[in-house]
Each structure stands twice: as C-alpha cells, then as structure tokens.
C-alpha cells in the first residue's frame, strides 16, 4: 500500500504518528500539528539528538504512579525502569550502544494489592514514552489462551500475542495455566507463549500476575520461565494506615466522607482483619472497597426514613454504616 521508497525525513516516524494521533483525537489544531511535523523536520533543534522521551513528560507520568497509595517497592522498580529507558536514549544520542531491553514482568502479590491497576498504568506509560507502538493492554486469562481441542491452544495463544503486539499482554492469574496437570492444554499455552516472547521480543511486553505462592510454583514448572521474566515485582500487603487512606479516597471519589468515629471503627475492623487467622484470604484494597460500598448502601438505607436530608448528612458515612456481620473478606 505504502510506497516502497521511504524518503528520509528527520522527524522520527513515532513522533509524527503521535502528533497525528493527537490531531485525530481533536487535541490539537491542524496548523499546530503541521507545525510540529514540519518544525521538527527542520534541521534546527538537533541538540544532543533530541531524545523522544522528555524528562518532564516522564516525571509527569511518574507523578501519576506516585498518586497511588503505598506500593513503595513497586514505585521504585518502575522508576528504575524508566530511568533506564531514558538513559538508553541518551546513550543512543551519544552513539553508544543501547541494547534493547527485555521488560517482561512478573507481578506477585495477594489479592487486591493493585497488580491490575499498575499493569494498566504501565501500558499507558510505556506508550507515552514511545517504547510501545500502540500501548494498549490486552488482558487475558486462562480461558482466552487455552483451546478446546488439540492444536487449538497454540492457535488461540498466538492470536492473543498478535493482538498484543505493540502493547502489553497481561495474563491475570497466570498460574492457572499450569494447574491442570500433565495432560492439560495449559502447558501448551505456556510453551507457545515462551516461544512468542522470543520471537517478538521487542514488540510487546508480557506481564504475568498472580498470588505470590502460586506464582512461585508456576515459575518453577517450566525451567525457561524465570529467566524470561527478568523483572519481578512483589506487591506487599497494605498496612492499616494505607488501607484507611484508600478508604478515604474511595469515599472521596464518590463524594462521600468518613466521620471521625466511622474512621475509628474502620481502623478497628481493619486491625482485626489483618491479625485474624483468615489472613490468607484477606483481599486488601478490594476488601476496603467492598466495605465502603456496603457502608454507602447502608447509609442510603439509614437516610431512607429521614424526611429531609442536608448536604452534610448525605455526604457523611457514620460508624453505624460500617457493619461487622457478613463482612466480605
């Protein structure tokens, strides 16, 4: 379709594509788009080979990540990756060799520790700094990869990988691929995945996520797996203070707030839940979200009888809204 002979333009295709995309989404005017396309084509601003990642932009992206509660280790790892990417570009501009980086990752952590949230954020971040062409996130689970009959699995898996090219392939609960035993098709999916990861090494990023203990076991089932996922990120459980902050934000997002007494009661609950024997199936932030959502429903029920409701009352969650019985763990 496109002419075979590409003319030499000084604008990097990826930058041009970005500008055109911005125009398509109606973010910039046509003359601005053209100015950026032609302005950068001019030989003027080639100071130190102008890297496509700008530090300010990167900082902006990282600030977004910093807005998440807790997750210090995760943030540090991500910061490391981005600093490395930026450095790679600067090295390239100095004509030093910059090896392409393998960024396949393993996310390990208990339920509700933010694995999926961070993966979604990362896909966008990688796209914005130009590492990934499209930056979309393809979220798959066992059912999307494993087929129904012999030979079907490889076909399905390859299809998913093709879909994810230029973006992130996020496999949630990845350990379930290895769970079925020797004859299960999940194994075939793993093998196919490992192969595709070699073939399209720099074209997509695979992130596998799951609970810590299960993931350790999963990585041990195939000797090729651990080395193919060089980046391991562990999502620790949240502390009580972090969980409270999360509760506050969830409430604030929906224009609710917790009364001081309600907060005290919530803290008690959380402390209890954290120290209880059901520790293993405590679902961290999700638990808090469910608790707050339940409280919102109960508050609605409480105010159902009231004849008039003022703004203050409609916004505040009281301690009696937080109920212990039938807690969703």
């Amino acid at each position: 379709m496109l002419p075979s002979d590409h003319r030499r333009t000084t604008v990097r295709p990826i930058v041009a594509q970005h500008v055109i995309d911005q125009y398509r989404q109606g973010q910039i005017a046509l003359s601005d788009a053209l100015r950026q396309l032609s302005g950068e084509a001019a030989p003027g601003p080639s100071v130190s080979g102008h890297p496509t990642i700008r530090r300010e932009r990167l900082q902006e992206i990282l600030d977004e990540l910093d807005a998440l509660v807790g997750l210090h280790e995760v943030k540090a790892t991500v910061r490391e990756i981005f600093a490395y990417l930026y450095m790679q570009q600067r090295r390239q501009s100095l004509q030093l060799r910059a090896e392409p980086v393998v960024l396949h990752m393993v996310f390990k952590g208990n339920p509700g520790t933010g694995k999926t949230t961070v993966a979604r954020l990362l896909a966008r971040m990688f796209h914005e700094c130009g590492l990934l062409e499209k930056g979309h996130l393809v979220e798959v689970e066992r059912a999307d990869l494993v087929g129904e009959y012999i030979g079907h699995t490889a076909q399905k898996t390859r299809e998913m990988v093709k879909k994810a090219l230029g973006g992130v392939l996020f496999i949630d609960e990845a350990y379930s691929l290895a769970r079925g035993g020797e004859k299960d098709f999940g194994r075939e999916a793993i093998d196919c995945l490992v192969k595709s990861m070699e073939d399209f090494r720099n074209q997509f990023i695979a992130i596998i996520a799951g609970y810590e203990r299960e993931m350790e076991w999963f990585l041990s089932t195939n000797p090729g797996l651990p080395s193919r996922f060089p980046i391991h990120v562990t999502f620790p459980d949240y502390s009580v203070a972090a969980l409270l902050e999360i509760a506050r934000r969830i409430a604030a997002d929906r224009q609710y707030r917790l009364s001081p007494e309600a907060e005290k009661k919530l803290r008690l609950y959380l402390e209890e839940a954290l120290s209880s024997c059901h520790r293993s199936n405590f679902s961290n932030a999700r638990f808090v979200r469910n608790l707050v959502e339940r409280a919102i429903r109960r508050q609605a029920l409480r105010l159902f009888e009231a004849a008039t409701v003022d703004r203050q009352a409609a916004m505040t969650l009281q301690p009696q809204d937080f109920q212990r019985e039938g807690m969703v763990l």
Partner: protein, 208 residues
Amino acid sequence: MNRGLVIGKTNVGKTLFCIHFAKFMGIRELNWLVERTDGQTERRRMSVNAAEVELSDATPHRTRNLQSLAVEFPHKKGTHTLLLSDSTGLCDGIHPEASVREAMAQTLEVLFSARIVLHIVDAAQIGRRLMQGVGSGDAWWDPVEEQLADYGGTQSGYIILANKMDLPEARSGYAALSKRFTRHRVIPVSALYATGFREVKQHVWRFA
C-alpha cells in the same frame, strides 16, 4: 509504486485536478482505489465525465477518503506507475466532526510517505483577499498553507500549484504566491480547463 499526494485546503479543486490530470495523461476510464479511513480499500470504476459530476462539488469535504488513480509515465523503455492520491481537504482548527478529523489525519499520514506532494492553492481566493484588504500584511495568507509549505521545504518532490488561474483575480494571487515562496516552485494551473498541466507533468515525471 510511488505515491503522489494532492493536498490542499477545502474547495481548492484537488479532486477536479486529479480527474483532469489523469485525463491529460491519457486515461479514459478512471479506476479509483479508495482507501477508507477504517483501513479497508475498495475499487471504483467510472468515466471521466461521471467522475466530474459525482466526485467534485462546491461543498467542502466532498472527498472523505483517500482515493487514488494509477497514472503511467514512460520511463526509459518501460513505464513507471505513479499512484496519484486525492486527499481530504484540510481546514484549520479542530474540526468538530470525528470522521472528518479521521480523514484529515489519514491525509497527514500519507503526506509522510508520499514521494511527490502537489500542494494546491486557490490563487483566485488569495487575489480576492488581496483586493479586499490591501496593506494588511499577511492577512491573505493562511497558517495551514504556510505550515504545509514549511514542511514541503524539507522535501524534494514538493511543488505548489496555483489553481483557478482561469479566474481574473487569480493573476495577482499567483504573483503574491511566487513572491512569497521564492524557495518553492509555483506552477499556475487551471484544473477546470487543464492549463499548465505540461509543467506539472514534467515535475511529476522527474520524481515518479
């Protein structure tokens, strides 16, 4: 196959230029390759007369897709084929209609890969503006055309075609154009009456 892109603002006569230029090159039946913005392509076959009536119009954004014609040029002993692409008209600002924006973005994308860029400017309109607002400096000149010309300055296959030379006001418009763009080649043409096509053909032939 090399691509020659016909680009310009709305209602400057891009489609009519394509049709008549193809006719000038000896094509009797137009075989359009339409590249839709959703990535699909289709072929449309029509006569020159039917194309004039059907494809060109006084309303802006008549052309919503990239539509191309294969034009053959004699080259040494064989022929070279050039894909002459007619594009959606550009207009400044952020167009409220998503489909038009999509089409314009498609034009920009092709602008990057095209070997020849024929930038059509409405010389008559410039002449009219000159007459109305004399002395107001650059008021007659459009930022979009300016940016396009700037971009074209970095490319070798770029020329400006001052269209609508059959209209009386176009003469002063052409003069202003060639004065302003001393770095670019400006060819006066009339898409309607197929004048000035010989020079265009020479240019295109050189780069095809």
